[in-house]
Amino acid sequence: MPREGFHRRIKELEHEVLEMGEMVFDAIHRSVEALKNLDAETARQIITNDAQVDRKRWQLEDRCVDLIATQQPVASDLREIIATLSIVRDLERIGDYAEGIGKIVLMHGDEPLVKPLTHLPVMAEKAVGMLRRSLEAFVQRDAKAARLICDEDDAVDKLYDQAYHDLIGYMIKDPSVITRATYLIWAAHNIERIADRATNIAESVVYLVTGTPTELNVSKY
């Protein structure tokens, strides 16, 4: 193949996207655990580690720009690089949402949670599942799988609404918990946004495979 070196560099880029994905998975898991246990030490680590995710984003974007400028990619090679640019930005933003939950843990302080977390861990599990499958679809160039991921976003939105109303109920019953309940609503909102970003990644995969920009994140809920 005449452009073996170029295509090897594209594969390496893809591998690094997956590495960045692992960094983000770890941040989401630990942020939800930190919230569940009100673990300030872990929360601080998540906030510090987010700088690594940010750096990874800039490194990968730089690699994409370098490939565009020096290799003049076209067709599926070009779409792969454009999709990668979009995916690393979504991953970086997901890292920010995890970092945001870490900050919420610090703001929450030592007071007990308004209620044991019920919806939030389920939402997080679903969002992480969506994210993992969207990255698998990226590697497999599987537009069909990517489209299916977007359907799952409705379930996360529904859980968010339940968590929201649940927490509003606590506030109405006892206004002294308003601040702590609001923190949990913020955390739930961050996870809901993570699922949205996972659907963005799925959209990038559909674009990469079909060449057609497609809006999949239209909630039926």
Binding site: M1, P2, R3, F6, H7, Q72, P73, V74, A75, S76, D77, L78, R79, T210, G211, T212
Partner: protein, 254 residues
């Protein structure tokens, strides 16, 4: 709205002796646009280009079958006036082929051959318009008597384009027109082509895929004598419909 076609071939087949260089080529070249023909060496792209003003007639043992319709007339008909055809369908080649004459006489030559103008003031006006059109008038107006070979390669190529333009063609065929030029001169010629396509139908054959992507509105990909795909340039370079096209433009042939 689909642009009106200027050149249309139907089942075009061309043989050099026993070698078939074009196989069932059906292509519609849109009017007043730039169409690029790309493909590996020997795919037939220059042969196809030379069909449009019957330059292949000059090659011995060439046989052409099918139809090539320009403005409703099948130019493969034996009664076609080749002089008139080649005025209507001008051509610019890889290396600038200026004559070893003055700049003025290089331009006047074509007018004389085609008996277009006789009065000196008309000739001067036409030459001026031609040079203005290709952006050379300001630089050359005071040295029209200088030998055309004293010009830079870019200026010579512009002069060749002017020589075609003053014959008032409808179509300009360009066979690798920038292959002898440096990158800056190449970009300037490409800019000129973008201006010219407002008034003329341009067909460019190029090995340089980035040039095809930059300069053309439509692109045809040829392989082993066949037209594999023809579509608007954006589509060809972002999401081609044919695997062969994709492999070629990505450089993953072989």
């Amino acid at each position: 709205m689909e642009p009106q076609s200027k050149i249309e071939t139907t089942d075009l087949n061309l043989y050099y002796g026993s070698f078939q260089a074009l196989i069932d080529v059906n292509i519609r070249i849109p009017a007043r646009n730039v169409t690029a023909i790309i493909g590996p060496s020997g795919c037939g792209k220059s042969t196809l280009l030379r069909c449009f003003n019957r330059m292949n007639d000059l090659v011995e043992h060439t046989q052409v079958k099918g139809r090539i319709v320009i403005d409703g007339q099948n130019i493969l008909e034996p009664e076609t006036d080749l002089i008139a055809l080649r005025r209507k369908v001008g051509m610019v080649f890889q290396r600038p082929n200026v004559f070893s004459l003055s700049i003025y006489n290089n331009l006047k030559f074509g007018l004389r051959i085609h008996n277009l103008l006789s009065r000196n003031d008309q000739i001067m006006q036409t030459i001026r318009q031609g040079l203005e059109h290709v952006g050379l008038w300001d630089d050359l107006k005071d040295k029209l008597n200088a030998n055309a070979h004293t010009l830079t390669l870019e200026q010579q190529q512009r002069l060749c384009i002017a020589r075609v333009l003053i014959l008032r063609p409808d179509i300009i065929l360009l066979d690798e027109p920038c292959s002898a030029l440096d990158p800056i001169a190449t970009l300037r010629i490409e800019e000129l082509l973008r201006v010219l396509c407002q008034d003329y139908t341009l067909v460019i054959v190029t090995h340089n895929m980035q040039q095809a992507a930059r300069v053309s509105d439509f692109t045809g990909f040829m392989y082993l004598g066949r037209l594999i795909e023809f579509a608007d340039t954006q589509r060809i370079f972002t999401n081609p419909g044919e695997r062969l096209t994709e492999d070629y433009i990505r450089g993953s042939f072989g």
